[in-house]
Amino acid sequence: MSLSLVGLALASEGESEGFHAPSPEEFYWPIFGSGDWTFTRPMLMMALSVLILGVLLVTLTKKAAIVPGKGQWMVEQAYDFVRNGIARDIIGSKDFLKYTPLLFSLFTLILLNNLFGIIPPIQYPTMSRIGFPIALTLIVYAVYHIAGMRRKGVGHYLSGMIPKGLPKPIYALIIPLEYATYFIIRPLTLALRLFGNMFAGHMLLLLFIMGGEYMLLHGGPGLKVVSVGSFLMALIFTAFEALIQFLQAYIFTLLAATYISDAISEEH
């Protein structure tokens, strides 16, 4: 008790002058409103991303030509990547076209919102607020379960989740595990993976940039020199983040496709 009081006193003392390490509070950016109905910065960015994507995709493909221009070519590359590289390869020739629009929307939306994390002046990944990955995961969750139930019927769909041909006693343990995985853990990891990567990445960049700024502006001569290293790290990690941001958009889409494929495939 007394120790924690000392800690509190130290912390409040440090607040006036010392360096503030970035904390989860850095992620809360209210714009207007209050309480549960606050309109925040990531909400604005999500709306912005939808607007940007909509305008971009419509204008670049409006005058679709057989010999594509630069813009059309880029859109086609992105679409081909999702359509052939993810949807067709994972879901298979028979059913993939039906799910391609969903997967393409997911991929482009997540990618742009992730890239916001390193695009000045936005520099904030929307998906570092847990609500956004949860919303996207709920869509995927509903789609693959409903698709599976409609394809196979509820009973067959549920029994299809259990691997066949194992020794009888093991089923007592396997059955609850499989259902927990399908209904709870999979969506949980899907949402948390995206959220965690974006949150940690943004935190890391904040730390290096804020640390560098503090050392440069408030530190002694020695610290001023060291701050160069901090900014250099920020630069390196920005490039690294670009890779992670693309990868997470890809992984989310790929997993969504595998879950759909798994739900509608006949044999196991």
Binding site: D89, P163, T181, I184, T258
Partner: protein
């Protein structure tokens, strides 16, 4: 991949497949999730069985069930991962 060549005639079909349809054919799809989705299984076992053991502990009034629960969960997880990904 090896669809009919452009000159070949499709027997019985009123209309042969378009070049795009031909390109899209023959992809069987993939039913096994990618390797690293095994993470879901690895987490599911300890969480599920550890959680059940914790509830049992509170219900019965014991305090030693969580550790065996988590260990059993890990074992079942590893077994399931082997069944799903290793048994071909």
């Amino acid at each position: 991949m090896s669809g009919p060549l452009p000159g070949e005639k499709e027997g019985g079909d009123e209309r042969g497949p378009t070049p795009l349809e031909r390109k899209d054919a023959g992809h069987p799809g993939q039913t096994t999730p990618p390797m690293w989705d095994a993470l879901s299984y690895v987490l599911a076992g300890p969480l599920l069985f550890g959680g059940v053991a914790y509830l049992l502990d509170r219900w019965v009034g014991t305090s030693w069930l969580v550790l065996p629960g988590v260990l059993i969960g890990m074992a079942v997880s590893l077994y399931t991962v082997w069944v799903r990904y290793g048994r071909q």
